[in-house]
Symmetry: C2
Subunit: 467 residues, 2 copies
Amino acid sequence: MAPVLRLARNETGIEAVLSRLAGQFGDRFSRAAAVREQHGHTTTRIENQPPDGVVFATSTEEVAAVVRLCAEHGVPVIPFGTGTSLEGHVNAPAGGISIDLSRMDRILAVRPEDLDCTVEAGVTRKRLNETLRDTGLFFPIDPGADASIGGMAATRASGTNAVRYGTMKDAVLSLTVVTPSGDIVRTGSRARKSSAGYDLTRLMVGSEGTLGVITEITLRLHGIPEGIAGGVCPFPSIEAACETVIATIQAGIPVARIELLDALQVKAVNAYSKLDLAETPTLFIEFHGTKAGVAEQAEIFEAIAADFGGGPAVFATKAEERTRLWQARHDAYWASVALMPGWKGTSTDVCVPISQLAACVTATQDDIAETGLIAPIVGHVGDGNFHVLVLADPADDIMNAKADAFIGRLNERAIAMGGTCTGEHGVGQGKMAYLPGEHGGALDLMRAIKRALDPGNIMNPGKIVAL
Amino acid sequence: MAPVLRLARNETGIEAVLSRLAGQFGDRFSRAAAVREQHGHTTTRIENQPPDGVVFATSTEEVAAVVRLCAEHGVPVIPFGTGTSLEGHVNAPAGGISIDLSRMDRILAVRPEDLDCTVEAGVTRKRLNETLRDTGLFFPIDPGADASIGGMAATRASGTNAVRYGTMKDAVLSLTVVTPSGDIVRTGSRARKSSAGYDLTRLMVGSEGTLGVITEITLRLHGIPEGIAGGVCPFPSIEAACETVIATIQAGIPVARIELLDALQVKAVNAYSKLDLAETPTLFIEFHGTKAGVAEQAEIFEAIAADFGGGPAVFATKAEERTRLWQARHDAYWASVALMPGWKGTSTDVCVPISQLAACVTATQDDIAETGLIAPIVGHVGDGNFHVLVLADPADDIMNAKADAFIGRLNERAIAMGGTCTGEHGVGQGKMAYLPGEHGGALDLMRAIKRALDPGNIMNPGKIVAL
C-alpha cells in the first residue's frame, strides 16, 4: 500500500460542521463508517482516508450551502462522483466533508441544433448516451468506468475516442462551479468559442475539486456517424504497431479509436472475454464517417499495416461483434486482474509524444521483465497514452516495493521522453511526487492559483499542489 | 474614437528603466515617437496610447531580463507581435515598455512524426506554413491578418478553419512563458494530452499578455488533406443559409470552412476582388478529406442547401480559383472599407450558439438599418461567430456615437442569446465593459488570478480585468 500525505485535522471545526449538517440534511447526511470508507475508497492501492461525514446533495444551492458552512469553519470539502478515480482523488487526508453528487443526476437540456447538452454533475456517461440515442447524437468521452460527468470534468478524463474527439478539455463548453467561498459561478457561455477573458472552463477541468465543486456541465455532442468500421490487426512487434499508428495519422486518416494491447494483455483479454486473438501486439481500431468513407479509411489503414508487416486486419461486420470487441477492450483492467487470482492490480498511466511511444513501451516491457513483475500494457496509442496494469500479491511486501519502484521509473521515463506523468488518470495523491520533475517552476504558478482561489485550503486539500 | 481607460504613470520607475534599457540594448531599443506610436497602434478605432520605449528582443532570456527590470521598478510591460489586434491590446495606458517579439522569428523544430513544431513568438502564420509545405503538414489557424504565432496564442485567435481544426486553444500544446517576476516557465509537455495539474497552457492562451510574455509555442500540426473541394453557394435569406449550416454539421459532415457573407458583404467583395457573385446571402465552403470523401461531402451539402432553397453551389475546380475565392474572403475587411472611401472601419465580433445565429444576424441587420449605418456582416458560421464591419466618417461625431451605441447593443444581444462578446478578437480595452454582463461573478475569479500571478500589475495593465 502506497504511503500518503497526512495533514493536520481541525477537530473543532469538523465537530461544528458535522452537527450542523446532521440537523440540516437528515437522512441525506451520513457518518456511518461504511459510507465514509466507501467515499474515501477509490480503485487504487492508496490507503483509505475516509471523510468525517457524507452529504448527498441534490442541487447546486445545497452544495453552495455546504461549502459556505465548511469555509466558515475551515473544514475540508471533497467532491465525490462515482468513486472510480485511480490516484486517491477522493481520500480525505485531513478529514472533512465528502459532497456526494450522485443524486444530482438530471439531464437539464439537450439541444440537438447546437450539438450540446447541460447535465448535473452526477449523470454518468452511459446514462447520458442512453438518453441521447434517439436524437442521433452521442457523447464520445469513454474512460473505462461508467464515471460521472462531473468527475470526468474534474479529472480531465478521456478514453479510447480521444484521438478523434478530444478529451474533457475539448468536450466541456461551460461549467457551473461552487467556488471555495460558496459562490455559484458559470465559467463560460454556450458559444462554441470565445476570447472573452481567462479560460476558467479549462482551468476548472482537471483541477480535481481543488479549486471548486463542479455541479453542472454543458457538453459538446457529436452526430452518431452514418458508418462505423471496427476490428483488430495483429503485428509482429510493438514497433511495427506504433509505426503503423504514426503513418495512419500522418496520412490524415481521421481514426476514431486506435488501441494497442501488448501480447500479455491480449492473452488476458482472450481468457477473460472468450476471444481467440493471436497473442501478439495487436491494434484495436475503429473508423467513423460515411459508409464509403469508412471503407476507404479501412483500406488505407490495411495497406499501411501491411507495409510494417502487420495484418491481416479482421473487421467486425456486425454491430454486436464490434460491441463485444470494445467491451473486451474496456474490460482490460478486469482481464488483467483475473490473470493472478487474489493479487491486486494498480492501473497507472503516462503519455509521451507519439514518436517516443514504441521506445517507451518497449523500455517499460524490459523493465517489467527485469524487475520480475506481471504487468500487461494497453494504450490509447493515437495519443501516445498507455496504461500499465501492475499486478502484485498484497501479502508480498517485497513485490509491492518493487511495483512502487517500477511505477516511479515509468513516470520518470515518460517525463524524460518529453511526456507527462499522467495522460488521463489525474494527479490526486498518487502522482504528486512527479509534478516537480515534469513542471519545474510552472508548479509555482499552480500553487499561486490554488492559494488565490482557495486561501483557506479547504477544497480537496492534500491533492495536486500539496507537495 | 472610443474612449479608453487612463491609468496613473510611475514616472520615476519609467525613467530608471528607460536609461537602463538604452544602455543594455543599444540600437535594439527605441524611444522614437514614430516607433512608439506604431507599437501602440492597432487596427482599431481606439485612440493611440504609445509606450515610453520599445525593446526589440531576440531571445527568451532577454525578455526575462527586461521583465525583471520592469518588475523591480514597477513599470508596465506590453508584449507586441505584429500589431494586428483589433481591441487596443497593445496600447500603453500607463506607459511602460513594449517588448517587440518580431525578431524572435526562428522555427526551432518541426517534428513530422509527432505532427508538431516549436516556434518563437514572432514567427508569422504564413511563414510557418511556407516552411512546412515540403513536410506535407500545415498549421490551420488563419485569422485575417498575417499575425505572429505569439500574438495569436495570446489572443486565442481562430479564423475560417476553426469549425474543423479548432482555435489556438486547441492548436497549442505547450508554451514558454516569462512570468511577471521574470522567471521562465514551460506550461506543458509535448504529450498530446495530460491530466497532470492545472491547465496553465489554456490559462495563458487568451490572457493577452496580462499574465506573462509568451516567447515560444509548441503547436499541433495537421496533414495537408489529399482532397480539397471549395466553392460558393447562394441563399435566398440569412435564415436559409444558417439552417443549411446547422443541418450540415448535424449530418456529421466534417466541413473545414463554412463562411457566411451577407448581401452587402458580397457586393463589397465583388467590387474589391473582381468577382461576380450574386449579391445575396452566400456561403463560402470548403471540404477536406480523401478525394472520394470530399466529393461525397460536397454532394451531401448541395442536397441539404437545396432543401432550404439554396444553390446551385459552384465549386472551384482548380486550386488557383479556390485560392482566389479565399483570398477574397480574407480581404473582406478591406473590401468593406473600400465601400466608403475616406471612412474608417471598425471590425467587431461576437459569437452565439449556432441555433441563435440567424436570429442574431437578422436582428443585427435590422439594427444597422434602423440606426442608418453601413456595416457588412461576415461570419465563421460553423462556430456561430460573426463579424460586423462598421463604417463611419471619422469627421462625423454623431455617426461615430451611433456606431458606438450599435456595437454596445450588438454585444449585449449576443450575450443575451447565450453567447459571448468576442469569439476571436479578444477583450483588450474595447470589450472590457461587456465582461461583467457576460461573466458575472466569474470575473472575480479572473481578477483573483491576475492579482495572484501579477501582484504588481505590470503585465499589460488596463486590459481584460481592469474594470
